[in-house]
């Protein structure tokens, strides 16, 4: 009996031990929920630890790539900038694909996951909201359609295939040796093979980052809260008079009609055939009601808060200018510094490519074949975002009696449905159905059925254009290549070795015949996009008489331009940077690259220079406390320079925020503006460029504007409000930085930071005290903790025919591996305003390391 009891006890104990140890082993082998397979992930020889191999200094060696047809040599500078020399263009792009994957695989995979709705597969349920939004938005559909219709024998298809072979050669190598970047080893989710569609999706991501905006939804909410009159007075279409503008294309302009609209990605597959021939709509939905619009806007805006911050366009991006003639010492000179979210690694990867018929150097985007910004043997170019409105929201008319249909052009039409399954790490896959109308994908059915028509749904042969630019030898070829460019709309600034300069704002400019496109439009047909601005009518200039052309996201044309481009809210920079660039270039002669570099590094705030004298005038003769007197003393004689050590800069920025709040805050509170639905788009702040401009205009030339007097309050003028705001700013700074204004410094308030693309804290750089602000040429966007700004500074000095001296630098380094010596090795140079030589387009740069790539293997 006793023995039987002991045996039973042993059996139970054994069973428990077996289950428990089995559970531990299974957990470590397969993971559970969001917990990765820790046994595999943390195995010292494999898993995440194996990423250490990618952190070793790169050495010369010979490697075999099955994707190559002929040997390729790759030499690296001390900062890891490769110069590829290949016997054919295809081989050059195979090598580029291999290099991108070698040094930026995590970045490439994360970006394609973002666009293809596969973030949750890697990150778990936290990525689901982003996946749903992106699959609705349709970058993947656009890319798939673009690839489906692309002739496989075309140069672009061949380039995409060659590039994919290079990436996949690296993936095969990683599968063999297990040396994956840490994020893959840790999660156990490894990248699949690269395809041309992935590259096209990445192109779409760039378009989304630069041009997808929710501003029409913000307009709808503002109009509902503040009323149409105040909304359009404070967020006007054209900049208010009194605010200086510097269009790079000053005209004269001619109306040249409307060009046919480019085929939308969804259009050919969305049937517009009537499902019923009802002449009039059935039972009306909430279409057109302000309440429904507000609910729909709030729903979409809420979804966008789940996206990575960079995916909704918020900040103006970039400076680029060129000069020729007497203005420069050589024949022409170009400077470019695109401003994008600053991350580690950077969005850019520097490279030089040389092959028969191709010699180009500059920065590439990992995942895309081709140099986006740089120079070849004869021309140099850089980009800034045009910022025109190309995101239109449509309120579709639907009916509960006609599920799956919408009313368009007099008849009920069926929506096309696309079904997706979203894999989720540690959870069940989630099905998603996307409805498509003729306008685009339906983003929400809350309140109203709202669809979006935006340029990301339009196939754009960007790679074909880039290959054309990479090989162009003069402005005519450059301009011809750009004719096909659609998205994102970009200002291409140009300078060549014959002393010519120019700029073209190439891209997609939708024309809406009726309605107010800055608001959600009725989807019944009358307010549809009817065409685009013809290429010959888009902003452009060639060899301007002033010998200077500059773009800094300002409105590129004057008020007499005969087409609608967008409003002051979000779509265009106020022009402070552009005005400053033109001011610094004006009247100069024989400028050298150092002079251009000084402009790129300028942190002078043009708005401060206009407003501070008015503020000091308002304070003159007033009774001020000792602290206020000392604070005012900081501003006297200040030149508007937003250096990190400047106390005046700290005071100015704080004052301007308080001034905006004192003027507009009471109106916002009275109108109950739902700021919580989209803080970036609805809150009163210096990031609201419309408010900045109207307040500047009133302060300078309309000091008695009625807006200074809040509803139900005694009359106020600009001077009254400025004094109130000044006192508030001094109090704020005294509380935060101490009572002695002499101890105040902009760098104690303002930092720059470079977060890791993985969002992992601890892998980024900063925050670090920094100068600059949103309106300085050396821009720092994002408020007091800036995370966007110059991501690449480049200067190309054409000294003669085929002879260029180029230098550039970007914050970060060529490798994405935090253990690599090339992770942040350019950061110090970038921070201190130094530049590094750009390897020549035709090769021949001093090199330390050489990879000999040979075809072969399998």
């Amino acid at each position: 009996m006793e023995r039987r009891g002991r045996l039973a006890g042993r059996a139970i104990h054994g069973l428990i031990a077996l289950c428990a140890s089995g559970a531990v082993l299974a957990l470590f082998a397969f993971g559970y929920g969001p917990v990765p397979a820790l046994g595999r992930a943390l195995d010292p020889g494999h898993g995440a630890w194996a990423s250490a191999a990618g952190g070793l200094p790169v050495r010369s060696h010979t490697l075999t790539l099955p994707g190559l047809s002929h040997p390729v040599s790759v030499t690296f500078t001390s900062h890891g900038v490769p110069s590829i020399r290949a016997a054919s263009q295809d081989d050059a792009f195979v090598a580029l694909g291999y290099l991108h994957a070698s040094f930026r695989l995590t970045e490439m995979d994360l970006e394609r996951r973002l666009g293809e709705g596969r973030v949750a597969q890697l990150a778990g349920p936290s990525g689901l909201a982003s996946d749903k939004f992106e699959l609705r938005l349709g970058l993947l559909r656009t890319a798939q359609q673009e690839w489906a219709v692309m002739p496989r024998s075309s140069p672009v298809a061949q380039t995409l295939l060659a590039y994919s072979r290079g990436v996949n050669d690296y993936l095969a190598q990683a599968r063999a040796d297990g040396h994956w970047p840490a994020i893959f080893g840790l999660t156990g989710v490894y990248p699949r093979d690269w395809t041309p569609i992935d590259s096209l999706v990445l192109q779409g991501i760039l378009t989304q980052e630069l041009d997808f905006t929710t501003t029409p939804l913000d307009y709808a909410l503002l109009e509902r809260s503040l009323g149409p009159a105040h909304t359009m007075a404070w967020f006007p279409v054209l900049p208010p008079r009194g605010v200086p503008q510097s269009p790079y294309d000053p005209g004269p302009y001619r109306y040249r009609g409307i060009a046919p609209i480019a085929a939308q990605a969804s259009a050919p597959t969305v049937t517009a055939q009537p499902a019923a021939t009802t002449a009039a709509p059935g039972p009306a939905t909430a279409t057109g009601s302000a309440a429904g619009t507000a609910i729909a806007a709030g729903s979409v805006l809420h979804e966008t808060t789940e996206l990575p911050a960079s995916l909704v366009h918020r900040y103006p991006d970039s400076n680029a200018w060129a000069a020729n003639g007497r203005a420069v010492a050589g024949v022409s000179m170009l400077a470019g510094d695109p401003h994008l979210p600053q991350t580690l690694p950077s969005v850019w990867y520097q490279a030089a490519l040389s092959a028969p018929g191709l010699a180009v150097t500059g920065v590439t985007v990992p995942g895309l074949p081709g140099v986006l910004i740089g120079h070849n043997a004869h021309i140099a170019w850089s980009l800034t975002d045009v910022q025109n409105q190309a995101t239109l929201f449509y309120t579709e008319q639907t009916s509960p009696a006609r599920r799956g249909q919408y009313f368009w052009r007099g008849a009920w039409r069926p929506m096309r449905q696309v079904h997706y399954t979203i894999p989720v790490r540690g959870g069940a896959a989630v099905p998603l159905t996307v409805d498509l109308t003729v306008h685009g994908p339906v983003l929400t059915r809350a309140g109203q059925t709202t669809a979006v028509d935006w340029m990301g749904n339009i196939p754009s042969p960007d790679l074909a254009v880039l290959l054309g630019i990479d090989k162009a030898a003069d402005f005519a070829q450059f301009r011809a290549a750009l004719a096909a460019w659609r998205a994102p709309t970009q200002n291409f600034v140009y300078a060549d070795d014959h002393g010519n300069i120019g700029a073209i704002s190439a891209g997609y400019y939708p024309v809406v015949r009726h309605g107010e496109p800055w608001l959600p439009l009725p989807g019944t047909g009358a307010d549809d996009v009817v065409g685009v601005i013809p290429y010959r009518a888009v902003p452009q200039v060639y060899d301007p008489p002033g010998h200077v052309v500059a773009t800094a996201n300002q409105r590129p044309v004057g008020p007499s331009y005969p087409y609608y481009l967008g409003t002051t809210a979000d779509f265009f920079d106020p022009g402070y940077r552009a005005g400053q660039i033109y001011a610094l270039l004006h009247g100069q002669s024989r400028m050298a690259p150092a002079a251009f570099a000084a402009i790129q590094l300028s942190v002078t705030d043009a708005l401060a220079r206009r407003i501070v004298p008015r503020l000091l005038a308002a304070l003159h003769g007033q009774h001020l406390s000792a602290t206020q007197q000392a604070a005012a003393g900081l501003l006297r004689g200040w030149d508007g320079s937003m250096t990190a050590s400047s106390g005046a800069a700290a005071l100015w920025w704080t004052f301007w925020g308080d001034y905006l709040g004192a003027v507009f805050g009471p109106w916002w509170r009275a109108g109950k503006v739902p700021v919580h639905k989209d803080h970036a788009g609805l809150a009163v702040s210096a990031q609201q460029f419309s408010l900045d401009q109207v307040l500047e205009a009133w302060t300078v030339s309309d000091r008695g504007n009625a807006a200074f007097t809040p509803p139900g309050s005694p009359h106020r003028t600009a001077a009254d409000v400025m004094r109130t705001a000044f006192a508030a700013a001094v109090a704020h700074l005294a509380a935060r930085l101490g009572a002695a204004p002499s101890a105040w410094a902009w760098g104690r308030l303002h930092t720059r930071q470079f977060p890791s693309i993985t969002q992992a804290p601890g892998l980024g750089y900063g925050p670090r005290a920094s100068g600059g602000d949103a309106w300085t040429i050396d821009a720092a966007d994002g408020g007091l903790e800036s995370h966007a700004g110059p991501g690449w500074r480049m200067i190309v000095d054409w000294t003669g025919h085929g002879s260029a001296m180029a230098e550039g630098v970007y914050p970060g380094g060529q490798s994405e591996n935090p253990a690599s010596p090339w992770y942040t090795d350019q950061m110090a140079d970038w921070w201190d305003g130094r530049y590094l030589p750009v390897p020549p387009a035709a090769g021949g740069a001093p090199w330390l390391i050489r990879w000999n790539m040979a075809p072969g293997g399998k």
């Binding site: 140890s21 630890w49 250490a52």
Partner: protein
């Protein structure tokens, strides 16, 4: 005195003295004090040698991708404990040490032989895992995973050993 004639009948339990006589009181067993006296040196040396060999196997296995070897080491220790008549307080530290030293040695080997930047990688792993971006944290978690495997294996080994219990 109880009446023996009532034995087995109702109420007989009240008879008291008829119960079985109490067991004779035995003295408590003498306390056992572990000792490392010379007479035990031989087996201890052998056990240390076995642990080192186990750690070496675990390390080599880790480099080969056999991440589950700490579990097997614990399992083996648990089974061996039966034949060596070793207690948990001896075998548990031994199994954990084999696992931790094995994985630690593998990491050290990679860092020393190949010069791999394991410290920076450890920071990266910790940060990606959402932990404080410290190399010590990732290293500790890695070694804890090895130790847990060994402990689970040991438990199973002891439970499955013949005659256990």
């Amino acid at each position: 005195m109880a009446d023996p004639r009532r034995l087995g009948r109702r109420g007989s339990y009240r008879l008291g003295r008829m119960s079985a006589p109490p067991a004779p009181r035995t003295p408590w067993p003498a306390a056992h004090y572990p000792t490392w006296a010379l007479r035990r040196r031989g087996p201890v040396f052998l056990w240390l040698l076995a642990c080192l060999a186990g750690a070496l196997i675990v390390a080599v296995g880790a480099l080969a991708g056999w991440w589950f070897l700490p579990f097997l080491a614990g399992l083996g220790t648990g089974l061996a404990a039966h034949y060596g008549r070793l207690r948990l307080r001896t075998t548990l530290p031994a199994a954990v040490a084999v696992a931790v030293v094995g994985w630690g040695a593998a990491l050290a080997w990679l860092a020393l032989r190949d010069g791999l930047p394991e410290v920076t990688v450890a920071r990266t792993i910790a940060a990606l895992a959402g932990l404080p971006a410290s190399a010590a944290v990732a290293l500790a978690v890695t070694l804890v995973v090895a130790a847990l495997q060994a402990a689970a294996g040991l438990w199973l080994g002891r439970a499955l050993a013949p005659g256990h219990g």
